[in-house]
Amino acid sequence: MLNVAVIGVGMTKFGRHENKTIRELWVEAAIKAIEDAKISLKDIQAAFIGCFSSEWWEHQGHLGSICADWLSICPTSAVRVENACASSGAALRCGVLAIASGLYDIVLVGGVEKMYSGPRKLSDTAYATEGLALASDEAYEQAQGLTFPGLYALMATAHMHKYGTKKEHLSKIAVKNHKNAAKNPLAHFQKEITLEEAMNARMIAYPLNLYDCCPFSDGASAAILCKADLARRFTDTIIHIIASTQASDTIALHNRESYVSLRSARVAAQEAYKMAKIESKDIDIAEVHDCFTIAELIAYEDLGFCKPGEGGKLIDEGETEIGGRIPVNTDGGLKAKGHPVGATGVAMIYEIVKQLRGEAINQVKAEIGLAHNVGGSGGTCTIHILKRVS
């Protein structure tokens, strides 16, 4: 129905890039996607780039043009898309809509973020923490001393109280994602951790400790989309985007009906399953937005991989591990692969495409993959479903 295919993907290593600026990271990822698609710069008809806060971390605005300029694709139109941590999920969706509209045949999408110190601006943990807080409600959450980890901690406390979820369930998610990242050369951390380490790390926002939180990362991601009828010109393994949805919710948690589920994710997922004419049980592999361990557990429930309240049971039974019924975050997730905020949504697409092509580091058997990209504490959620059709 959307008539959109993904013909190329590329990403930088996620982690620290102290000698690189935003535009340089972006160009590295974009060139990799262009080479992967075997197209040339002049084939690109439009670009959509997700970035959360280049102003905060690099004092740089007007990102669309800079990204087009440094990639040498001017005068092609380029737009910067901002939906907090879902910026590149939203940029991807803009690309999908641009092709589905019939206006373009080939579009470049992606995302970038620079959160550590770079050659042009210094950053540290305190500065980066305050930067992330920009995704929450300034007047009614930040002003009350709430931090970004604190928002997800509020959800974790509520989930534990309502469903009896244990800290151990959260720590098991961290252990799984670190294990998946251990062999991924593009991951921020390539280090397995033990359950004991995950349980006993330094407290950040009770009940979440350091190992429940994803790291700050630098990095970029990119993908080339084309009109599905043209895809065979570029590749033999055709991957279609069979659903692309997005939903919003109140920015502040206190204005929501529930603190144990994200309405934006439930709505976007239900619409996506309907658009793709599939059910949640048809998903072979998923990339979910585990900015905090509790976020992955809630995603299991919001996406219908288990019933509400049974996320802890799903991780206990190993169903989301490689070899389980529905492997989740086979690349290490935000937790261990890293979370350069604006780059995350399309980096999920990178992993799904690699899995569907049979080129993944932690390869599983998969024909249909889902990417769940959340902005802030659920103010935005984008869902994309990809299917290998040949």
Partner: protein, 129 residues
């Protein structure tokens, strides 16, 4: 015509006066907290000011160990979402011993002078604790 807009500035002016105020929708009766010019429940733009009793229960909480720079002197401190008896919820600092905080705790609105500002917070309601 209301004397004050349903604005963020008005909310904090009321806090300075020791009042926790929301906007009550004249069409559907929903009480919006924080105040909003457009009802979250029905979309109506007709509203009047509503003063909360300040009594409520703790719906969920966290203990902030790594605070923003501004709140450094308070850490570790509790931030929670309080459901007021009138039905609306709001985020605020909770004055409670760290090892006594729990969901369902009876709370009453309180205010705290901090760095020249009057902060909204809640304390444990003595009569019921």
């Amino acid at each position: 015509m209301q004397e004050r807009d349903a604005s963020i500035q008005s909310f904090y002016e009321f806090i300075k006066e020791g009042k926790l105020m929301g906007t009550k929708c004249l069409k559907c009766g929903y009480i919006n907290l924080p105040p909003r010019p457009i009802c979250q429940a029905c979309g109506s733009k007709d509203w009047e000011w509503f003063q909360f009793s300040g009594k409520g229960k703790l719906e969920t909480y966290t203990i902030i160990h790594v605070p923003p720079a501004k709140f450094k002197d308070l850490a570790p401190y509790i931030v929670g979402i309080v459901k007021l008896i009138e039905g609306s919820s709001i985020t605020a600092i909770i004055k409670s011993k760290l090892d006594e905080v729990k969901i369902g705790l009876d709370l009453i609105v309180d205010y705290m002078e901090y760095k020249g500002e009057k902060l909204l917070c809640f304390k444990v309601e003595e009569s019921q604790s």
